[in-house]
Symmetry: C2
Subunit: 393 residues, 2 copies
């Protein structure tokens, strides 16, 4: 299969934006092997009334194996299938694993689009480097991803119903006990249709902020998208749910700095004593995931140039003071799964006491989070032409 | 198979020591199903001249599947085989995985022994609880583990050659994208013959101490044996090797407290200005793995009652001062893989400068680390009768 049959001009220019990294044996789109499920053997079309994100999967998957000695094998698209791994595979013991999450949107014109996929791929490469997995040419990988979407384009829901969640995953699979980087790896992509309405705004969330739970720390891996960052959060999430709250607001340090919420980056819109407005998100100091939506909100609002846009620390102390003075206007999370989530309430555990903070996020007129949400949706659904949207077909 | 056919008196009393935990559907030894490899189909006997720990595996494995709705399935011993998992299995994405490491020793009398296995099993249960995997009756699990050793007893090397490393592993395998605990799990055990001479003492190690690398953090998972704790160490280990050193000495906090070395706990033998001797290991403050050898060294030396035994913090500052005054006598790591490793050298990166510290550990007469090493080996090989040694056959 020649690369040229797939590469639209949009894709070619995109591939150039994703920095190629020098490796001896490249992952190449032109090597892609296709084993398509016969049409009559494909699973029943998804029931559009009951999309269960993360539990239903598209018919095909992409995969490519790597070995330290031989480099990358030929990449392949084939029917979704189980992985067959030795019980001593590194991934089962030392968490040598990482992933990405992005979505394919079917626009109002019926066409399928991705949202800044090159940022996901660059982050994937950065995560791989952190755990000693091999890097590869991101542009070639993007072409393979796009080809997978073409094969399973029927799985991208109509824009009124949702989107197709795309999960690139990268595992160290050498069957060898002993701490050390893996000499074998598999890079794969699976897709799952996700519910999500684009006509109304996201549901408001309630957060539990307990400084005893720490998601990431300096010298750790909180700025990469590694499986290990999520392990410790599984049980903490349960604590939040016990209190009837949705997610955890992750704090850091003795001054209880705000870092992330659940698996989302976080933004606060505040004004100062003389009424100057400032949009704030925590800086990329090593414990914050460099989110694609985070970057896009910064890019967008800086382009708008209507208020000050800052990457700086905010403590719970400052948040409480601003809230008390009526200077906290909005607070919202952003991530691929939920896009933009307005935050309505924070239950803050301080010195053993629970402080219930009610935020006015959803009560503002012409609220910022809705403007951003609408902008993203307009780009994703093709209502607004923008270079962030990459057309797949 | 009736439990009584396997339960020796030693095992029965041990099973009682491992606290049973109330669950609705128990993992039961009496349910164990056996599918043995026919003798003539077993792999060639291991080449005793070339034991490659972690790369060769015994003929059989133990496994037991669990489901949130149905509880534990029947446990099974069968020929070693690959795991067949959905690419969306939680373990591949959110690091829901944990393990244990212990060894089976063939004694001078030819019998096979374990070393305090109930401590490993209790730690396994504690790790499982931390990541939302189900707990089970540790005594029943121990009986299954012992049965696996009986089936593969030929894989336990002669004491002059090494031991059989045993790796219980527990994975969340529900095929569902989305952060949250797994509703399906598999608990398994694989075994790998490990080289290791018991006639000479362990090789001295050289450590790299750079405060910029942080293994664990309060509020994290450093006190559990989870895969996620090892992910971030893979690349740091490479930094040590670049400097010609063996392992990393993990420091913590602005005062550079000593925590662990590589994947080992750490001990220091020091004397004060008036000559009083103190054996020190960092306390179990949430960022230290509660090692079995660590506990055994504390138990043993407290029983000896020859010097003060402390669980307290030691900073790099104190270590350097004591070393300069000739008051640092010995420093050694302990872990299942290496038993006791004397530390000869630390390269300490402070304010961008490398400080080369040479330790007198291996130059002491009647050194403590050797006495402990010899005691452990005598118990493990059955030269000394002790309740810590559990006879398997």
């Amino acid at each position: 299969m020649a690369a040229s049959t797939l590469t639209s001009r949009t894709l070619a220019s995109l591939a150039a934006k994703v920095a190629p990294i020098s490796v001896s044996s490249q992952l190449k789109f032109s090597d892609l092997e296709m084993y398509q499920q016969p049409k009559d053997m494909r699973r029943k079309k998804m029931d559009l009334g009951k999309l269960k994100c993360g539990q239903q999967f598209a018919d095909h998957m992409f995969e490519c194996y790597w070995n330290d000695e031989h480099g990358w094998m030929k990449p392949r698209i084939s029917p979704l299938h189980n992985l067959n791994l030795h019980p001593a595979a590194k991934v089962f013991h030392y968490g040598q694993e990482l992933f990405e999450g992005l979505k394919a949107y079917r626009g109002v014109d019926g066409r399928i689009r991705l949202f800044r996929p090159q940022l996901n791929i660059n982050r994937l490469l950065s995560s791989a480097d952190r755990v000693g997995l091999p890097v590869f040419n991101g542009g070639e990988f993007l072409k393979c991803l796009v080809q997978l979407l073409k094969v399973d384009s029927e799985w991208v829901p109509n824009f009124a119903k949702g989107s197709l969640y795309i999960r690139p995953t990268f595992l160290g699979i050498e069957p060898r006990l002993g701490i050390g980087r893996s000499m074998d790896a598999v890079l794969y992509i699976i897709c799952s249709p996700a519910e999500g309405s684009f006509s109304t705004t996201a549901k408001p969330v309630h957060l539990f902020a307990d400084p005893k739970f720490v998601r990431a720390w300096p010298g750790g891996t909180g700025d990469k998208k590694l499986g290990c960052n999520y392990t410790s959060t599984l049980m903490v999430q349960r604590e939040a749910e016990r209190l009837g709250l949705h997610q955890v607001l992750w704090l850091f340090g003795p001054d209880h700095r705000i870092t992330e919420a659940g698996a989302s980056n976080i933004f606060m819109l505040m004004k100062d004593d003389v009424g100057n407005v400032e949009l704030i998100t925590p800086p990329l100091n090593g414990i914050i995931l460099p989110g694609i939506n985070r970057q896009s909100i910064l890019d967008l609002t800086r382009d708008w140039n209507e208020f000050k846009v800052s990457e700086r620390e905010v403590t719970m102390q400052e948040l409480q003071e601003r809230l008390a003075k009526g200077q906290l206007l909005e607070m919202f999370g952003c991530g691929t799964a939920s896009a933009i989530s307005p935050i309505e309430r924070i239950v803050y555990k301080k010195d053993g006491r629970l402080i219930d903070l009610r935020l006015p996020t959803t009560q503002q007129s012409n609220s910022l989070y809705k403007r951003i949400f609408d902008f993203f949706v307009d780009v994703q659904l093709g209502r607004k032409k923008h270079e962030w949207a990459v057309e797949v077909d």
